[in-house]
Symmetry: C2
Subunit: 327 residues, 2 copies
């Protein structure tokens, strides 16, 4: 039933066209990367597994884009410019020629869009398909924006809007979700799209390099991820300051308990950054200028102050579960 | 039944101890690698899947070592010095705390042995466990030993002995293999060990850098892999010149059809290299000096001469299957 594409032919026909110079035509044991003098290399690896990180029935081109973009999101958070990626592909028999062709087309389009050529990889046989991408970026030497930075008093910013993807996932997992019954069609489409097609905030990378003292991408839920930025410090965050899209706002209004899902569900691929107070205004302005609005949601506090999420009433908001966990 | 180790605890307790400086304590989105000025970075990715590349019942420490060593073998073939690796781990519920602890111990031991620190990675949930390692090495700029090099007249060398691992795998897959009935115990142990614990030929890397015009590691079987070195050229190889261990020799003597398995089965992780004739003697001598004997098995020929495997009788030897194929 399924036509199986031989590995050599798959590489030559589908992957070689998106290969960069250092890939040596994908005909070598390894790739060769010449670093730009005076720069550090930023390395990141995000693995996506079918039925865990995406649905088997998702369009293969979108699965490819998601696999690359979750990695590019990490590079963006570090202030890095992408220079290439390696692809590890776990193939089941169901990934036939048609699937692989559509997958490669999506990957090639994104590879061009983000100026991130394929450098090499490996394909293996498996029962549960997976995508293991390693992406490489560059920053001027010593300038990578760390996650364990920041200082008491730094402003905490997030990019874009939070919770859309987690709510989009709920719409797929629970088609009869009561709160979604009266959700407008365009809102539904928007949330589903945010789950399926994350937007890596690479436009923000130079702005983070210029102003941020710490940054990370939000992939496992804002509440839990915020705990991990400047681990040793405390923080206070205003629940109502967290930017929600009109679609998320509409859905949460119809089902207030969905706010927890939005704030802890993950798959946002937005940026959380700590910016010194004297640079906050410039950060906000530069971010807007490059097309990625950022919003201040809180402040880093001195060590030992804990992580407090505050409601408009002044009361503390607590969460049963802070983030997505695999185990 | 199985105790599940939370991701954060697993990273802090098991993986952080083998982390390199650029890993930032495994507490960041990404790792930071400062390339040595005047060097190129060599990138390689080999993925291992349970029940495809290893047995679920193999000792976890050996699985870890194999996953790292298959990657180090690629670096060795390129003449590179390892500088670090990223680990993608697909965890099933069966990989409990005990398993993970043994796995990490094996990985840490090898990480030290080969001076190749852990830089980062990702852990995900899956039904069929896998290990997706990306390893990084360095070579002086422009000096990576390519696979698509070599010139007509170059001598073809292989390191170590060929076929041991493929025969060892046969011993495991076919416990009642007639040819193995009278195989001496130490021979059996040797072949099983060669399958379980590949030896990356990193000691040979500087020798390859100094003398080889092309090189690759042999992972999918010598016959098929030899086709891929200097793809555009022809080659003639003497079947009897291929170095076999005493154990392989004994097993093949008892079952002559197993020679095909030895030459096409794969998992050798030895080096195949093309060396200009005027450097052949020095290559052989330097290799011996660094503890990795190499043997000349043939010669590269001009384009269009095909790939001929010649027996002592002068007759051509043909192979039904040239190498291991996933698809």
């Amino acid at each position: 039933m399924h036509e199986t594409l031989p590995e050599f032919e798959m590489i030559a026909r589908l992957f070689a066209p998106m290969a960069g110079e250092g890939a040596l035509g994908l005909l070598d044991d390894a790739a060769c990367l010449r670093p730009t003098p005076g720069h550090d290399l930023v390395l990141t690896k995000d693995v996506l597994v079918e039925a865990v990180h995406y649905f088997a029935e998702d369009p293969p081109a979108d699965i490819a884009r998601k696999a690359l973009r979750t990695n590019l999101s990490d590079l963006a958070a570090k202030g890095a410019r992408p220079v290439g990626f390696l692809l590890g592909l776990g193939r089941s028999p169901a990934l036939d020629t048609e699937w692989l062709t559509a997958f490669a087309a999506g990957l090639a389009a994104d590879s061009r869009l983000w100026h991130c050529p394929l450098l090499g990889g490996d394909t293996v046989r498996t029962s549960q398909p997976f995508l293991s991408i390693t992406a490489f970026g560059e920053v001027p030497a010593g300038r990578m924006v760390p996650r364990q930075g920041g200082a008491p008093g730094d402003a905490l910013f997030v990019s874009g809007t939070i919770g859309d993807a987690a709510l989009g996932l709920q719409l797929r997992l629970r088609p009869d979700l009561p709160a979604a019954r009266s959700l407008a069609g365009p809102h539904r489409t928007f949330l589903l799209d945010r789950y399926l097609r994350p937007q890596p905030r690479l436009a923000l990378a130079p702005v983070l390099l210029a102003h941020a003292r710490a940054a990370m991408d939000i992939s496992d839920g804002l509440v839990g991820d915020a705990d991990k930025l400047g681990l040793h410090l405390g923080r206070e965050i205003a629940v109502e300051a967290v930017p929600l899209s009109p679609a998320a706002r509409a859905l949460v209004a119809a089902g207030p308990d969905l706010l927890d899902c939005a704030l802890t569900g993950g798959d946002d691929y937005e940026i959380l950054a700590a910016v010194p107070p004297e640079k906050a205004a410039a950060f906000e302005q530069d971010a807007l200028q490059c097309g990625v609005p950022v919003v201040r949601i809180g402040t880093l506090l001195r060590e030992g102050s804990g992580a407090v999420w505050r409601m408009g009433t002044g009361l503390e908001r607590r969460f049963a579960r802070r983030s997505f966990a695999h185990f």
